[in-house]
């Protein structure tokens, strides 16, 4: 039950993009078309799940075991960037079609603050291994939801008559603000 709560909390109630502002760069950059948004969402979810597992292990068996918690940021960022690199090589070998659709997004994921944020939050909240993984999947699903909704709105926005000074980034930010308002409606759903 607790696992389910963590999942729903990360995916909807405390959506990473709309309440913690993590992963804003891809959120604004890759949300122009629906199909790329879906692919980016899947790639991020995949990396997030692996990151949650690996950083948990690193934290428990290296940082805490050798009493060097101040190396947390350095080790996490190295772990994440090498993980992304490995995933890229693995996908290229195993499934070329998948690589063609996800490939260009993978390098971008390294500097996605949502990934490092996820690892830090999981440590901060002292999740167990299984809880961390559910947290990672939930955060990824939440990111995908936000990205896909945003892409859907922006495709419609192409045909709207937006004042000249608000075109582009400002309008996207305003739409994101309204989305965040809408997601505030979920706030009372869970007490986590």
């Amino acid at each position: 039950m607790k696992l389910l709560m963590i999942f729903i909390s990360a995916a909807i109630v405390n959506n990473f993009v709309l309440t913690y502002f993590l992963g804003i760069c891809p959120f604004l950059g890759v949300s122009r078309r629906l199909d790329t948004a879906v692919n980016m969402g899947f790639a991020t979810t995949f990396v997030m799940t692996l990151t949650a597992a690996i950083t948990w292990l690193i934290h428990k068996y290296i940082l805490v075991a050798f009493n060097v918690p101040f190396l947390e940021y350095v080790t996490f960022i190295i772990a994440i960037s090498s993980l992304v690199q490995f995933v890229e090589m693995f996908i290229r070998k195993m499934s070329p079609p998948l690589y063609r659709s996800l490939g260009i997004f993978l390098p971008l994921i390294t500097t996605n603050c949502a990934i490092l944020g996820l690892a830090l939050f999981a440590v901060l909240r002292e999740y167990t291994f299984l809880e961390s993984i559910f947290f990672g999947v939930g955060a990824g699903v939440g990111f995908t939801i936000a990205l896909v909704i945003m892409a859907g709105i922006r495709e419609e926005l192409e045909f709207a008559d937006v004042p000249q000074s608000l075109q582009g980034a400002p309008m996207t930010l305003l739409v994101a603000g309204m989305l965040a308002l809408a997601f505030m409606g979920f706030a009372g759903l869970l007490s986590v």
Binding site: Y20, E72, V74, L120, Q164, G177
Partner: protein, 209 residues
């Protein structure tokens, strides 16, 4: 003479014409997340400026030693090192600020602004120029954060730098401004307004011969 002019240019471009937040939309995560008060915005801005200047200096010093293939990981590790320093310093000297910024201090590591300046500027220019560039960008970033934080704090809680100057009876705070949604809306309108002002200026400039 030409040198001193270009130094000034490298510094001032970060303030306005290439302002990292308004014009380039870099480093938006901390910009939106911590600007619920002017003080938080200022401390985040200063922490980022410190990391930006230190890492730009180091990157510029070692630019000839690092092979091109591994430069991005190298830059990230340098940045992460300085972020750790900033984080420990804040925790030791200013515990309340460190607490209110929370996990957003470590997240300076993945602030695209810092990596961007290392890659675009510091790895190609001399140490002195890189410091000037980093200082300008840092001041521009901090300034934008303080402006955003002030707007949100005034509208959201009727105070500025924790000093309450609007009485509750006169002004009902717009709670939404300090919540996440307010951050997106404020930044959206701010950029829109700046676009509007600069387009007016531009058309005026064109009208004059």
């Amino acid at each position: 003479m030409a040198v001193s002019k270009s130094v000034l240019e490298e510094f001032t471009k970060g303030l306005w014409s290439e302002n990292p937040v308004i014009k380039a939309l870099l480093g938006l995560c901390p910009t939106l997340a911590v600007t619920n008060s002017a003080l938080n915005g200022l401390s985040m801005g200063l922490a980022t400026t410190f990391v930006l200047i230190s890492s730009s200096t180091i990157v510029s010093i070692i630019k000839r030693v690092v092979p091109a293939q591994v430069r991005i990981p190298t830059f990230i590790v340098i940045i992460a090192g300085f972020v750790t320093v900033a984080d420990i310093f804040l925790k030791a000297q200013f515990p309340p600020i460190s607490k209110s910024l929370g996990p957003y201090v470590p997240l300076i590591v993945v602030n695209c602004l810092i990596l961007g300046r290392s890659e675009i500027f510091a790895s190609k220019h001399s140490v002195g120029m890189s410091i000037i560039d980093a200082l300008g960008m840092g001041v521009g970033f901090s300034g934008t954060l303080v402006v955003l934080g002030s707007i949100r704090e005034i509208l959201g809680s009727g105070s500025l730098f924790n000093f309450k100057f609007l009485a509750e009876s006169l002004f009902t705070p717009w709670v939404v401004m300090v919540l996440p949604a307010g951050a997106f809306l404020t930044l959206g309108f701010l950029i829109g307004m700046i676009n509007f002002i600069s387009s007016r200026k531009g058309s005026k400039g064109r009208a004059q011969p």
